[in-house]
Amino acid sequence: MTFEPKIVGILCNWCSYTGADLAGTARIKYSPNVRVMRVMCSGRVDPTFILKAFADGADGVLVAGCHPGDCHYIEGNYKTMRRMALFKKMLADYGIEPGRFRLEWVSASEGDRWAEVVNKITEDVRKLGPAKLRTVRKKKIPA
C-alpha cells in the first residue's frame, strides 16, 4: 500500500476556504489528504499551530490565504508572508524538512488552483515519506 500523507490545511475564510468550497461545488477531483481548518485570516496563523500539527503527527501543513493585495482585512496576508518566511527557516532545526510546509495564495474563484495546490503538496509530502516526529512518537509510546 502506498503511503497516504496526512496534511493539515489552515485556510483563510474569505479566499482559500471559499476557493476550496468552489472546488467542491465544481466537482473538481483532487487528493483527499488535506484536512481543512478554517481561520478568519491567514494572519491568525500562529507558528505554534503548525508545530502543534507536526507534533500531533501531521506529515505536512498547508497554510493558504488571499493573494497579496486581496486580503479581506487589508494586509493580514502580508503579515503571514513575513511570519512564514522566518518560520520556514526554523523548521529544519526542529527536524522537519521545509518541504513539508507550504504557504500558498488561493483566491475565492480559484477552485482549480486549490485542487492543484493540494495535489502538489500531497505528491511532495508523499515523496518525503512519513514525518520523523510521527515515527519518533510512535516508537516512544508502547503499543
Partner: protein
Amino acid sequence: MKTIKLKIDGIETTADDRTPVLAIAEKLGIKIPTLCHHPILEPYGVCRICTVEVRSGKRVRMVTACNYPATNGIEVLTNSDRVRRDRKLIIEWLMSRCGHVPVLEQLAKEYGIVEPRFGRGDDDCILCGLCVRVCSDVVGANVLGFFGRGTTREVSTAFGETSPKCIGCGACAYVCPTGAIRIENDSELVREALPLGPLTPVGIPFMQAVPHKPVIDRDSCIHFKTGECKVCEKVCEVKAIDHKQTDQIEEIDVGAVILATGFKPSDPQAIPEYGYGKFKNVLTGLEFERMNSASGPTGGKILLANNQEPKQVGIIHCVGSRDERHNKYCSRVCCMYALKFAHLIKEKTGAEVYNFYIDMRCFGKGYEEFYHRLLEEGVRFIRGRAASVTDFPLNDREVGKLVVRVEDTLIGEVRRIPLDMVVLATGLSPAEDAARLARTFHISCGNGFFMERHPKLAPVSTATDGIFIAGACQGPKDIPDTVAQASAAASLVQSLMSRGEIEVESATSVVDAEKCAGCRICNTLCSLSAISFDEEKKISVINDVLCKGCGTCAAACPSAAISARHFTDEQLFAEIEGALYDVRA
C-alpha cells in the same frame, strides 16, 4: 460706455457709442446684405455690399455698415436710391470676376440686374477673406492666406500644396459664401468615422443620453487641437461652455456601494478570420445597433459602405464566446439580439438573412416563441460555427461579395454563402479594470467578473459587507436579469439603511488586561487601526466596533494576552487534534 441716439431708416434708436451700424440694424430687424461678414469674426469691410448712406448734419457719406462705428445723431439709410445704385454697381463689379456664383445671381435678381454691364467672370472666389480669417483667427491653423497681387490675387495654401497643418475641420468651406471651397467628401471615408462616433464635436451623444445635454468630444474639437476656436463659447448665450473643465476626484462618505460597472464588448479583431476592420461591410453587433438607430448616422437605414441596401446579410453568432481561444463561457445575450437584428433586417430591407449558430439559446420568457416566429418569417439558420469571412470569389456568384465559409453540421457539408453584409454577434467580456476595482473594494474577481458571496443563496452581495454587485460586472446577462439584480441590490442597501444600526462582528479579538505586558507589538500590526494603547494602564485595548476579527494580533501576541473570539488558541489546538485524530497517539 456712452449711449448714443441715432436714426436708421427713420426709426429712432439708442446704442452704445461706436457700435458698428450693421449690428444696430440687425437688432432692429433691418436686413443689410453681407458677403464678407460673419458674427464670430472681426468686421473686414472688403466686399462693400453692406454699403449704407450715413447723414451727419449736412454731410452725406457712403460707408460699409459692418465696420462703421455709429456716433451720436447720425441718420442711416439702408435702402435709399443711392444705396441701391451703389450696391448694384458693386454686384456688377463682383460678377465681372465671379459671374456664375449663386449668391451673386440672387443679389443681382434682387437689385434688378438683368445682365451685368462688365461681363461675367469664371472665378468662384470673391476674395472676401472669410476662409483666411476663420482659419487664422478662429481655428488657429493658419493654413490659408492671400497670394498674388491685383488681378492674380487668390486664396491658397502655402505654395499651393496640401498643408500638413490643415486639420480638415471644414470651417473654411462652412463660412465660404460662394461655395468655392469644398471638402472632398469620400463617402467611405466619412462612414469610417461615423458608425459609433459623435456626429459633431459638440453634441448630445445619443438621443436617450442622461442628462440630455451636449458634451464636447475632445478628440474632434478644434480647440483641443489648435488651442483656438472656442466658437461655441462665443455663441452660447448663457455662457455654459468652459473649455478648462477637467475630471475631478470627489470624495463622498457612503455606507454601502453597489458596483454596476458593466462589461466590455469582445474584441472582434482578436478573431482575424472574420475580417473585422479589413472588410468595410463586416460590422459588430454594437455598430449595427447604432446604424439601426433612428438617431444614428444613417437615420436607421441599413446600408452598406457604398450606401446601397444589402440583399443578403449574415449574422455570425458566438463571436468571442464559447470559444476555447477567447471566452469559454456563453455571453447569454447574443442569440437574442442576433434574432432581433435578423427580424429588423427582414422588416427594413427584405434581404435574405442567414444566422450561423452553434446552438440557439432562447432561454427567457417569450424568447423561444420569437425564435419560432423568425423561422416562419423565412430567416435562414445554419447550424455550424462560421470558419471565415473572405472576399476571394471562387465562382461568378461570389464576385464582389463577402463569402462566409461554414460547415453546415445538420447536412454535414462545408458551404460557402455569398453575402453583402456580415454582422458579428460579439459577446460580453469583462471590463478592463475589473481586477483593479475588485481589489479596491476587497472583493474577488473570477474570469474578470466580480464574485458573488454565494452563487445561489447570495448572488447580489459580496464577501465584503456593504458592497453589492449588479449587472454584467457580475457575469454576462441580459436587461431583464440586470434589472432584477439591480433592484435586489438596491433593496438590500435600503434594508441596511432603514435598520439604522449595523450588526458588529461577534468574532472580535479581546485583550486580557492581566496578561498584557504593554509591548505594543499588536498596535502596529492592526491594519484597521482598532488597537490603541491605554497610556494610564499601560496596556493595549481593542475597539470592538473597528475590529473585524482577523486575529493577526492574537497570532503575534508574545504573552498570549490577546485571544480571537471563536478562534482562540485552545479551540484551534483542539481542531488540529481533531483533524489528526487517527495519527495522534
